[in-house]
């Protein structure tokens, strides 16, 4: 059971009704949902288009006001300014100022958190290093590809070392390598006891990083729980062992059949996911041409995020 101070987001009967010009109800985008997100959790918001994911996130960020219900972030109202200093947000599309360079963009967002000039400069350097874009620090954001702009968007979401990170479709527009980095970053933040709320259509991404998921459909929560509870098939077991030769495999098959009386089983080689294969291939191909790469892969994490 979580203590009250560990409840980061608490929503009770949250409802959002969009109205028309004459104030008549038009769409019930969020329909009385209640949920909690606790400290250190990575929670995934899932659902088809129009299920209320983005609306819920916008209500959490005070970009929309709830029609009914109660929502507390860090125990405070969503309008509270101090609460916002603990939140990092990566929107679905990266809304950045095209005439600012990567460095200026991070400096600008750093200053919005009232950080000192020295601290902003330090964090900007570390973040640019972390997202592998140090070499493009002076380039204008307007010249960046979608993926590069997305990386800058992610960096600005982390500039305040947030306790709660809200990611709306974090891997959209990213190549598999960047997707992998993004997921590694989320896992890293999870280890640092940060709370992450992720909304995504890509179920694989959610499955890989989330502890818990909330599935929305037509503004209602239709399923909620830890991935283990929801996805584990308790009726079956998987045994992973090193590769066996033909006679050994035959022995194993006979043992399972004759000693354990199991008829319904299969012995096969496991498949690597395509994403893992792609990342591995790219690493191999990179070789000496890394200086010409659009975005350089980086394994480093910003120092201030490690604290």
């Amino acid at each position: 059971m979580f203590q009250e101070e560990d409840i980061i987001i608490s929503a009770k009967n949250l409802t959002k009704i969009f109205k028309d010009f004459w104030n008549r109800p038009k769409v019930k985008a969020v329909n009385g949902i209640s949920f909690e997100v606790n400290r250190g959790e990575v929670v995934g918001l899932l659902g088809p288009n129009g299920s209320g994911k983005s609306t819920t996130i916008k209500i959490i960020l005070n970009l929309l006001y709830p029609t009914a219900g109660e929502l507390k972030i860090f125990g405070e109202n969503t309008k509270d300014i101090n609460t916002k200093s603990k939140i990092g947000y990566l929107p679905e599309e990266t809304y950045l100022y095209k005439f600012l360079s990567a460095e200026e963009t991070l400096n600008f967002f750093g200053h919005l958190f009232n950080l000192s000039v020295k601290e902003v400069r330090k964090r900007t350097d570390e973040l640019l290093e972390m997202i592998g874009m140090s070499y493009a620090r002076k380039r204008l954001v307007g010249e960046f590809s979608k993926g590069m702009a997305r990386r800058i968007g992610m960096a600005q979401a982390l500039i305040n070392n947030p306790e709660l990170l809200i990611l709306d479709e974090p891997t959209s527009s990213l190549d598999p390598i960047a997707c992998n980095e993004m997921k590694n970053l989320i896992k890293f933040l999870k280890n640092k006891k940060k709370t992450v709320l992720v909304s995504s259509h890509l179920l694989g991404d959610i499955e890989e990083v989330c502890d818990r998921i909330i599935i929305l459909y037509e503004g209602r929560i239709v399923a909620e729980g830890s991935l283990e509870d929801l996805l584990k098939i308790y009726e079956k077991n998987i045994i992973t062992i090193p590769r066996q030769e033909g006679t050994q495999t035959e022995k194993l098959r006979r043992y399972l059949k004759e000693e354990l009386f199991i008829e319904d089983f299969s012995i096969d080689n496991p498949n690597m996911s395509l994403e893992k294969y792609f990342v591995k291939t790219m690493e191999k191909a990179r070789g000496d041409n890394s200086e010409f790469a659009e975005v350089k892969q980086s394994d480093t994490m910003a120092e201030y995020l490690k604290e």
Binding site: I59, L63, Y95, Y97, L112
Partner: protein, 453 residues
């Protein structure tokens, strides 16, 4: 504090990078440089300099005002439409501060630009003056490069006289509202004509209450005589008259200002130098007497304007700076309008509203000034036009009200009362209402909504 500066800086960069700002600023620079060099009128040096100053300042400030209103509007509406506002409102900065800093950014960049442009105009005007002869310079320093306070003659008992006559005329008559207004105007006109009339062969004294300044030796008085009737406005075949002016300061010696009888043309402006050495520190009464030597015709003066005594009160630079101060207030005002409209409307609608605002501001005063005609016509359309203008002008400010370049070019002192009046008239009510609407809408608006473009 950091976040305030960051938003202000971002706003300034956004404006500097916008094409419309660059275009307007280029035009302003061209006008500031070119107009002082292109206006030539060899016949009248004073007029030429007055036109140069007025045109350069007016065109540049109108362009700066348009740029301020457009920048404020496009930044706010653009941020909302492109959802960039999401990135600001989710940060620990209140919506009020976002709006305030956006407004400050718009104001600061246009303020700086006004300073640069006004400095260029000032230097250009000075440079074109430096090539003149000493007498020409002296004339300019008296009539253009100066700051003179105007005093019109004291009017006492006008309202008493008006009400006596008005009551006498309307007591037994059943008049409509417009007829009463018309009667009132006629009575005022008659009283003022009577007060400003100098009958044939007679004299009339005009009283002025004057405050001493250090520039006592730099004084003059101006007058426009109307001979035979106060309504003669034609400039051809104008009647002539003969007369003499005399001056008395604080019951001192009466001094004749004309050595011999002078001939004056009707509807022609005259200016005569006077010396006011004997002024005391307290209130001074100056008596200007016109002796009408014409045996047949009366001479009329429109006493609400002429004769008037003008005394140098301050230097040209001081007046110029006061004019700039009013323009700065104008920038504050239009920037606030721009930001407010940007908060309320989408960009195309906001642009339409801005154009309507500026156009109406320009013609609204004109419609009101034509009220006499409307009331005379007394038809429903005229009345609607008049009343609509009157109502709308309570919320719409004509931006030309913030232009006092004519004062600067004619060397008329911009009195502090004028500045206070502008602040009282436009800032205590209209500015607060407009800013209040902007703040309210910005605070209430849900930025997460999909914006219909």
């Amino acid at each position: 504090m950091n976040h305030d500066l960051a938003i202000i800086r971002l706003t300034i960069i956004t404006i500097i990078k916008s094409h419309s700002f660059i275009l307007i600023m280029l035009l302003s620079c061209i006008f500031a440089f070119v107009i002082p060099l292109t206006v030539f009128d060899g016949s009248n040096l004073v007029d030429m300099f007055q036109i140069r100053i007025t045109y350069s300042l007016d065109i540049c400030t109108i362009l700066i005002f348009i740029s301020s209103i457009w920048s404020g509007c496009s930044i706010m509406a653009g941020d909302i439409e492109s959802h960039k506002i999401h990135m600001l409102v989710v940060k620990p900065v209140s919506k009020f501060r976002i709006l305030l800093n956006r407004f400050l950014g718009v104001f600061i960049i246009h303020f700086l630009f006004l300073m640069i442009i006004s400095l260029i105009i000032f230097l250009m005007i000075n440079a074109s003056e430096s090539s003149l002869s000493i007498p020409q310079k002296a004339e300019l320093s008296k009539k253009v490069f100066t700051s003179r306070k105007s005093y019109v003659s004291r009017l006492t008992g006008v309202s008493k006289e008006f009400f006596e006559e008005f009551n006498a005329r309307t007591r037994d008559a059943t008049l409509s509202e417009s007829e009463r207004a018309e009667t009132g105007k006629k009575i005022i006109y008659t009283i003022l004509s009577r007060r400003g009339e100098v009958k044939p062969g007679k004299s009339k004294t005009f009283f002025f209450e004057v405050v001493k300044t250090i520039y006592f030796d730099n004084a003059s008085f101006q007058f426009i005589p109307y001979i035979g009737s106060p309504d003669i406005l034609e400039r051809q075949n104008r009647p002539k008259t003969e007369g003499v002016w005399s001056l008395q300061v604080n019951n001192g010696k009466v001094v004749n200002l004309n050595e011999k009888p002078e001939t004056f043309l009707s509807n022609n402006e005259y200016e005569m130098n006077i010396s006011l050495k004997d002024l005391s520190e307290e209130k001074n009464i100056i008596k200007l007497t016109y002796h009408n030597l014409d045996k047949d015709k009366s001479v009329f003066f429109r006493i609400t304007e002429f004769p008037r005594i003008q005394i140098k009160n301050a230097g040209f630079i001081e007046n110029y700076l006061k004019c700039l101060l009013i323009m700065v207030l104008g920038i504050v005002f239009v920037s606030a309008i721009g930001c407010t409209l940007g908060c309320i409307f989408s960009l195309p609608v906001a642009v339409f509203v801005i154009i309507a605002y500026l156009l109406f501001g320009s013609v609204g005063n004109f419609i009101l000034s034509r009220n006499e005609v409307f009331l005379k016509n007394d038809n429903i359309q005229s009345k609607i036009g008049y009343n609509l203008s009157k109502t709308l002008l309570k919320i719409i400010t004509p931006i030309q009200e913030f232009q006092l370049s004519e004062y600067v070019s004619t060397g008329m002192l911009i009195e502090n009362d004028i500045i206070i009046e502008i602040i009282k008239k436009y800032f205590l009510i209209q500015f607060l209402i407009i800013s209040g609407i902007g703040i309210y809408v910005f605070n209430k608006r849900e930025f997460g909504m999909v914006v219909k473009k």
